[in-house]
Symmetry: C2
Subunit: 635 residues, 2 copies
């Protein structure tokens, strides 16, 4: 057999059809039993053998992989990727430092190591293998019958290894994760010792972890920056990162006196080198104009020393989360800041995620604003959709997927939106700790028309402003329906709506232009109907939910005995009862009109979940791990 020359890493062409004369075919472990082809089909067995050993590192240029993320807090694993929307394929580059005996990488529903879709690179001490694999509900690894991750390159680098592989968004393999444009929970694991076979590996015995990211980012072309663009950095002042797992750091700064009205047209994160894995997300808030000044606080946001007035610094100017790139406003719009009628005070909030309790690390990360004095045609605005922050919207305990829905009704959009409508170009979904999914749908004439934004793998620990792939126009009379799905399996009592971290929210902050007076378009169940519900709970169960005027709604929910009937009745109530609307100019000022006891919008046709178009004509591919030649041990 012809022997492959050792040498520099070889890029393997994507099309297998072109492989024959460029690659080394190696003898393989005992061939697997070929599956019987159906009467109408022929099975085709193709498998790849790759023998690539390189002692030299040759980083691909930055442009090949526009997106990067560290996978672990120690920076051992780093993922880069690019997206081909035409081919519906992602190319991944996984860089591993100080590789021992293998690595696994993949995706799972919410970051668990069980039921994960994985690639495995491992050695049995003698030979090395690469395979598309999956873990079962016990964490046991199995070879995938359909090999959809395709290895393109294995390369030794100066400090470890670099793997290049690709995968279609949709593989039609039930063992594979369906890559959509929402949050993806990436998982990784490090193998410390050789394994005789894939089946001998269980994820529970490995050093593992997860990282959240939006893999399929919107790739709308970035508008050009004007000549007069200026920048301003809102950065933490050399903060000593606390050695706690979670710190929210608050820092108040201010715009220069007399700073006139400008448009923010772009912003990006500035991360202190070395802290890439510690800085989880950051937001810049503008303080309320009604206060002349704000104290210059600099410390943890939950500090008892934090002045109460900082609660009035809540208007989002910019937000970044791990993995996010620069945020560009559409070329016809910008966010107004500075000038009369707006506060000069800004609050920076940095979330440090330090699970290894690293000590002594200093940080000056922050956000760089790009702004211009040449105001663009439109002011961009932010509108809050979803639920009012009120305890009347509650989730019973022990629910795995309880849905609450908030409405922005036709009556409100009719009053508040201009005849030419508004254009939503970005969205930030928000819940507290029990939130698992969020979706906003646009309905017109009683029919659901379009998903504004959806995250079926939403995590409250990963909230970023996302550019929409397609701008959504909303006209007077349209309805916006925002639903959040919660998991309260670990709760003993009901979780009510509210501001507290142990209370819940269901919000979609939509970014749009032209800015209107409408800041808030949210709903909650009518309180009178909720009181009827508590009466029913009492009459049906002979229980004593206090329905006296002194009892708060939270207390009432706390005393509900959560049997199936009371749960079902609450769901039925939220599906049926009239709502109270908040159709507000600012959080305190409503548009004129009657907003209590509003009927629920009637929806006669709903959007169907998009089902991937899986061909019936897929051949059974013979599945064996790919043999890879690597010299193991520290590089």
């Amino acid at each position: 057999m012809y022997k492959c020359p050792s040498g520099a890493g070889v890029l393997i062409p994507a099309m297998q059809a072109h492989l024959t004369h460029q690659h080394c075919w190696n003898s393989l472990p005992s061939p697997s039993v070929r599956e019987a082809a159906s009467m109408y089909s022929t099975a085709v067995a193709i498998f790849l053998v790759i023998l690539v050993a390189a002692l030299q590192s040759s980083e691909p240029p930055e442009s090949l992989f526009p997106y990067h993320i560290p996978l672990d807090p120690d920076g051992i694993l780093e993922l880069s990727w690019n997206i081909s929307y035409v081919q519906k394929i992602i190319h991944f580059q996984l860089q591993v430092q100080g590789l021992r005996a293998g690595v696994l990488f993949g995706m799972s529903d919410r970051g668990e190591m069980e039921n994960a879709d994985l690639i495995m690179l491992w050695t049995d001490g003698n030979r090395s293998y690469f395979a598309d694999a999956w873990s079962d509900q016990k964490g046991q690894i199995h070879l995938d019958a359909q090999q959809d991750y395709q290895l393109l390159q294995v390369q030794r680098t100066s400090d470890g290894l670099s793997l290049l592989f690709k995968r279609p968004f949709v593989t039609c393999d039930p063992k594979d994760y369906l890559i959509e444009d929402d949050t993806v929970h990436l998982v990784y694991g490090i193998l410390e010792e050789p394994f005789q076979s894939l089946e001998a590996i269980n994820t529970s015995g490995l050093h593992t972890g997860l990282q959240r990211v939006q893999l399929l980012k919107s790739e709308v072309p970035t508008p050009a920056m004007p000549a007069d663009v200026q920048t301003m950095e809102i950065r933490a002042p050399d903060v000593l990162i606390p050695d706690n797992e979670t710190t929210y750091w608050c820092y108040v700064t201010e715009l220069p006196p007399g700073f006139s009205r400008h448009h923010i047209i772009m912003y990006e994160a500035v991360i202190t080198e070395g802290n890439e894995a510690l800085v989880h997300h950051m937001e810049v808030f503008q303080c309320a104009a009604k206060f002349k000044s704000f104290p210059h606080f600099n410390g943890p946001c939950d500090s008892k020393m934090k002045p109460d007035r900082l609660n009035y610094c809540r208007h989002v100017l910019a937000a970044w989360a791990l993995g996010a790139k620069a945020f560009y406003y559409p070329e016809e719009a910008g966010v107004a800041f500075g000038g009369l009628g707006s506060s000069r005070y800004l609050r920076l909030e940095v979330h440090y995620h330090n699970p290894r309790n690293i000590q002594g690390r200093r940080d000056s990360s922050g956000i760089r604003l790009y702004y211009t004095a040449t105001l663009r045609q439109f002011n961009a605005g932010i509108m809050e959709l979803g639920l009012v922050y009120t305890p009347v919207m509650a989730i019973p305990p022990q629910e795995t997927a309880f849905v609450l829905t908030g409405y922005c009704t036709d009556k409100c959009t009719m009053l508040a939106l201009p005849p030419s409508g508004i254009r939503i170009f970005a969205s930030q979904l928000h819940t507290h700790l029990t939130g698992r999914k969020v979706i906003t749908v646009l309905a017109r004439d009683g029919q659901e028309r379009k998903v504004v934004n959806r995250d079926n793998h939403y995590s409250p620990h990963f909230q970023e402003i996302r550019m929409l792939k397609e701008v959504v126009s909303v006209f007077p009379g349209d309805v916006l329906i925002t639903s959040c799905t919660y998991n309260t399996e670990d709760k003993k009592l009901a979780t009510v709506g509210g501001f507290g971290i142990l209370e819940e929210m269901c919000v979609n902050y939509v970014h749009y232009y032209p800015q209107t007076e409408l800041e808030l378009c949210k709903s909650a169940v009518n309180d009178g109907y909720l009181q009827k519900y508590f009466h029913q709970v009492n009459s049906f169960n002979n229980e004593e939910v206090c329905t006296c005027p002194q009892a708060s709604v939270t207390e009432q929910f706390t005393s509900v005995p959560w049997n199936s009937y009371n749960r079902d009745m609450l769901k039925a109530l939220y599906r049926f009862a009239p709502i109270s609307m908040h159709c507000n100019k600012t959080s305190a000022v409503r548009f004129q009109g009657e907003w209590n006891l509003q009927p629920l919008p009637e929806i006669t046709s709903t959007l169907k979940d998009p089902t991937p178009n899986c061909p019936t004509g897929r051949a059974v591919s013979r599945t064996n791990p790919t043999t890879v030649s690597i010299s193991w041990g520290r590089g």
Copy 2:
């Protein structure tokens, strides 16, 4: 090109791999675009061309096709079939009298011509074609991308045409009907004129119809008849079939005086020749022993002349429905009849289905009982599972799939079944007109274990006793859960449980041995809890459902305003509220114990719907209609 000899019909072997040297390949219409094969697959394009013209009829022997059914009331179309459980394939023979320009045959969810899975035989006036096709929601016909019906033979017969084709139970084609062992709604249509293409055909313009049948019958080996077997025919006495669409004919007869105790061990239908398409189903009932005699009535069952006492002739001895074969009892069991303590009086009920209002037809159809004086080891019995006939179980109007569930609890089976259990070998599902699905599941230790019988395409117009493919053993402590799904889209008021044809039932008559005292194991929601529901409806909706003692439950249901909340609450009630059990020896005598306010059985794990195991590795088959050579016009 080699020309096919004309002559007698040629049976085409089932395996395409053996076809090459036996068949004529014809030039075809323009080839369709071949679908791109995936990277791992090769597309295989195989198609059949069949040129068979025969002037002679050559019926295959009876044994080839054990099952027969007329499709239309005029007897123009007749279907025969056999089943290979090993290959999971059905062979169909469709015989058509006086063929004009084509025929379609197929299956759909409930007998509608839209969204049907079809075969089409049609001519464009010049050539003739056969194809696997489907109709969309508007009845428009389309060629199926995956051709799963395979034509084996086309043959001219003396009076028309005979088609032989086969199809797997499961095709994994979303356009195909999944053939399961429940009721199948067969559809047919007759083409009166040529069509230029398949796409030019819409089912709405054709003469069409439906026929219900169980295609996948149980094929348990038939026990041998003993030497002393005797027969007795219970037949209609030369009845003049009324020219109404629906007639239930009642005829009372009696066993000879002094007829001693025997075991019925088999029965079969005896159909008057020519009436095969008119006799829809027949049942033989034994009258109650408590009356010495019954009037010899002979007339329509809904006649005002029918004596009331005939309502006491309800104990089923034998039941047959269209398409059913002989019913054999297991060799260790038989149904006792005759002798002391049982009535000599029998009632035959024949359902005549005469939609063409045919006049002057006479009929002496009935059932032939095979019985023996050598009693078998066990008496076979019938037990009623499901819901008590009471208005407390109700279905709101305008529901498309409302589920009611009846329980046979562990407490009842503990008391009533012998330690060695009982063996259920057959089952007859029963609802009134709004029933659409019925299922009985066996649960043990809180876990669903086995489906006793299921019909997802249940029709109240097609109730037959079905042999189970596998005998189900039920032991003391087991729970039997029977659920019925109803469609009340055409109702304005609630449909309550009861005996009336416009009221509803949910029953599974299970046939089992050894016979026990338990005749009835059924449940209904506790009435006190239902009254709480009506109270809640009143308090929540400020409506006036009469909850005074004078109002009947039916009246109360009639006055419920059916908004979504009241619907959801009723569902929640039925899921939650305690039940009243009927654990009865006969319909009036209960087993000893407390049967009111029983808790609902707790089920911690449910059976999953069986998903057909569809291979991912199916090749794309090239799809063109098969060209067939036939001389059209009346034979």
